[in-house]
Amino acid sequence: MADVAPKVLWTDGVEVVLALGDRIVRGAVERRGGRTLVHWRGEVFEVEAATGPSRQGSAAASAGRELFAPMTGTVVQVYASDGQPVERGAPLLVVEAMKMEHRIVAPAKARVARVHVKKGDQVDVGAPLVSLDGGDSSP
């Protein structure tokens, strides 16, 4: 099936209906923050928008290497420091928003490359909090 050329039957720029031979495929494609996400049967897949082999190499690392503020709030605790190795699940910092404290944890074993905030900082949604690197490459 993968070798059959897809034919767009209908799209409105978000949702797409394809014909793959006699198969009908319904889904949606969005670009969000430089990523391409494909929605299919209730699941979401990230598809690499590779421009060349070098890009692919760096993109092969697992997701969440850059941790962003999930919402506007205040940094109330910082546990991580630059250069610190962390295990998966290790608490890095705490952001308080909507009266809830949200622990930002390491999504994988990694090294803290840089902590971008300090205790007491106000952060906007999407603001970078922590950069991680050197984790194991399998997410």
């Binding site: 897809p6 394809l18 969005e30 209730g42 598809v47 622990r103």
Partner: protein
Amino acid sequence: VEVLEAWERRLMFERVLVANRGEIARRIFRTLRVMGIEPVAVYSEADRDAPFVREADRAMAIGPAPAAQSYLDVEKILAAAKTAGAEAIHPGYGFLSENAAFAAACEKAGVAFIGPPASAMEKLGNKKAARELAHSVGVPIVPGAELGSDDRAARDAAARVGFPLLVKAAAGGGGKGMRRVDRMEDVQTAVGAARRESMAAFGSDALIVERCVEKARHVEVQLVGDASGTIVPILERDCSLQRRHQKVVEECPSPRVDAGLRKKLLDSSAKLAAAGGYENAGTLEFLLTPQGELFFLEMNTRLQVEHPVTEMVCGIDLVAWQVSIAAGQAVKAPSIEPRGHAIEARVYAEDPANGFLPQSGTLARVRWPSGPGIRVDAGVESGSVVTPHYDPMLGKVIAWGESRDEARLRLAAALRESLFVGVTTNVPFMIAALESARFAKDDFHTTSIEEGAFEPWRPAATLPGEVRALAAATRPAGRAPRADHARPGPWDSTDRFRLVGDRGHG
């Protein structure tokens, strides 16, 4: 009969203000319309364009986005009710729903509060008072203690209760302020964080510590009571699939409760609610241990998020009962004959792959499912903005089936039909959970998600051909490729990961 109906209408409210937002505001409006009552919405600046505002008969602006200056502002809400001519206020859940001072202020202002009287809320809504009342009427509670104000007292209390333990806010629910502590060294940090959260959420830093019962199930009893003192316990729900101490999937009835246990649950609940002089709809939450012991946890003196599963199995409308009771009518104690099984999935804007952290943004496209046995209580539509100001729940999908398995498969299929573009949701995670063998076999407890029993995501060895085709056919710059030009390109060259668990029963 006509005279009687006219008389009943006179007793019923003509206009009711709903002091809430999102899906629950819309759900309450629906019942009000059925009852011939005009719904009045209140909204903050952040919700000006929200679907619930458009669906009311009147909509009153009550201030800026922060809840403290809008949905939690008692004076503004009472003023809106007066201006709109509303005779009653339904608080929904969250916000002011469990605030006894608000209920008292309504009583004082001559507006009916659709919920329990302030006095019952004080007795049963406060965890400490409710635990004491439960203990006094012989309903078992988890070993626990009040937390002293200084750190030494906190450590003494922790030592008495034993580890692992939970630190909780005395004043509220919803997991806010709750911390699990495994070691004495961590008591101080957890207490500090819990105090800050509790103060911010409830204006009180009073805490309690409780033994953490491991591998427990969360079982709760829905009941209603009226002004005459009649208490009708309806049926239990099971809300054991939780993350961050907050429920994600709920079902009715509990697959772990047999007839004997059910009688014990319902009898204990009715006894405790009666002892507190409870009126209107409420829920008593229990822990069920693997050994079959029941411990009363707390009472939610309001309508709960997960009330639809009970409604679907019992064929009732709990909001209609709430409104009737608040209007002074008696619970008619209909013969409830539960049938089948219902499961609810709460759709949240949150990222399961990143600690279930809340997400915000604009939903470019939303599709809710429908079909036999499917109920959707939705708060958002295509174009809706999810702001960071409020709880990130987008809505609920509820499935009914003759059996638990039918409900489970209907719900998973319904979620696969749904679409949320623009903001990350927990839908893929819930699909994976519902389709897992673990859920099918009912093999989980309240901390299973944290323990990793349901994977938030896993790498996919290869992307499905359909996904690669969708990506290939929608290259950037809006150039939809013609069929004869489509060929394998960079879009399908790199296999990444699924943001969620794989399908299958592994």
